[in-house]
Symmetry: C2
Subunit: 362 residues, 2 copies
Amino acid sequence: VGTRLFDEGRRFRIGGWWLVVTLVGVLSAAAFPRLVAAQSAWSIGPREVPPPAGASETLSEAIASAPAPDVAQGGIAIPTTEEGWLALQQDSGAVSLDALSAQLSVSIERDEIDGVTVYRVTPDQLDARHDGHLFLPVHGGAYVLGGGDGSVGEAATVASRLGIQAVSVDYRMPPAHPFPAAVDDTVSVYHRLLQTHAAASIVIGGTSAGGGLALAVVHRLIADGVDTPGAIYAGTPWADLTKTGDTLFANEGLDRVLVRYEGLLEEAALLYADGRDLKDPLLSPVYGDFDRFPPTYFITGTRDMFLSDTVRTHRKMRVAGVAAELNVYEAISHAEYLILADSPESKQAFDELGDFLRRHLP
Amino acid sequence: VGTRLFDEGRRFRIGGWWLVVTLVGVLSAAAFPRLVAAQSAWSIGPREVPPPAGASETLSEAIASAPAPDVAQGGIAIPTTEEGWLALQQDSGAVSLDALSAQLSVSIERDEIDGVTVYRVTPDQLDARHDGHLFLPVHGGAYVLGGGDGSVGEAATVASRLGIQAVSVDYRMPPAHPFPAAVDDTVSVYHRLLQTHAAASIVIGGTSAGGGLALAVVHRLIADGVDTPGAIYAGTPWADLTKTGDTLFANEGLDRVLVRYEGLLEEAALLYADGRDLKDPLLSPVYGDFDRFPPTYFITGTRDMFLSDTVRTHRKMRVAGVAAELNVYEAISHAEYLILADSPESKQAFDELGDFLRRHLP
């Protein structure tokens, strides 16, 4: 082992990557040394990362003019009481529907389906190629925020960009309604939509917790023997509530939206799971079985802390033979294709989502 | 601008990502503040990155048992003389073809086509589904290393895994033969292969500089009005010889194969380009036009310093309507799907490459 360890160490220490490339096949992973105990974490950096010259001017300038993420401060202070959470939720849902309607040229109608609040979004300009198609958006916000009128932002953006009808789910949230309320509410709405729409003509999806919830709902539908939607839009999905994905570590402090796992993400995961195993596939869908999943469109970025969760889910789907497509944007942090709505990256992302749906929905 | 700058700073400073997500559509990138001068680079970290729990056991254990990359030491000492380069090249090409043949169950025959050295690789087990298909591999090694008998490693691996015939190009290299010798040699061989094979039945490709060279050759073929191959295999392609890609900075010291740009990569780029503009699309293919490119299969990893070059090229292809597929592996450093040949990641990568080729070649 001593000799092998030396060889292994030396092979990488001299940076001799051409050597290992040319020796592939001769070397084998089985010959790699196994130490009794795993090494502790590598300490990487500090790195100096300039604004991304290979990204769009919009993104590069936005990053250049922004302060560096403050890892020490991290996310917001986490409420310690139920009242604190409710106040924060109310704040995050305080959006003007009139302004949103005017800005995106959509009409928004608040409604209720089987006791679940939904928002029906109709773009002024419907695209005939999406006749009969329906988008079922589930909002982001770490399962604990972004509800109420605030829940309709992404739904309105996608409806407007693609010219597609949407029925957006304002699912119940903790602390009053932890898991599985979000899944239950979305499944309820889906069942009612099946009375007027073919399953294959529906696309379910969203960003962040919305992407994760869409995947979880499809796990549930398959378990229940219900026809799945025709497609999934999984925008940088929170597919794993545990701190497992490598980019949760590697992109800490580089992702200017999420910044770090400790704080909001960690607390929200525990609050939502309400004592259940965080690796339950209905909470962390990456741990599920993807055998019968519909075509799925993934979007993430190289600076995204959920890059790992996105690519891990994509890989599992491809191994299962699912028509899953992965799209990674240069230097994009978590959900920035949505946040920087006027960037070329955002335009590309939703143009291509539309193209994907038109290829896969009837 | 003062108020807006405050808003922008505050929005990210409080980590209020749910807020910006819900406000999307109301906010617009046009409202983002523009500073007179771009900020300098962000200093990120140091981060503590544990072995990747979401990767395969093989990869995770290989990383856990390896020393952390040494950024200060970086790559190898760069030769300062032509003799020094030639000695290094000879060393990197010193591979036993007999051992490779036995290990991978292939026969390897050294040959010459129009003055270019090639290696004809025939697997003992040909897959009938690849009848008539031909793999045209171009080796990695930063355009300056990995030639000679060492050039056949990846060719033999792919031929063996897929059961496909290969004709591997041992193109000329600097210092004696800088750009465009590598492109010229590969194009010469391709033209001769067209005498016995339909263009559509050929897949050109490789890893690292090999991936980049494959893309450059297709740029040249399109410019010359020659029929392109039926598909491209672009393994973590060196698609940009300049230090532009964001992950050259972000994954410095995390990618245990490349480690950093300064040193071998930078010197090799200059040696190969021989005074030409590094952004010439035949040197840095990401800057070219991808309109008429054939279906292309991309492989990279979240720790790969060429992650950015890979996703930037994939994006440009998708925008151009090319049938390009992106696959990103959790915690894989540059070319590790090739280096850790016995890992599940490696098996997945080549199984799926075969599947991709069978979908796109006649």
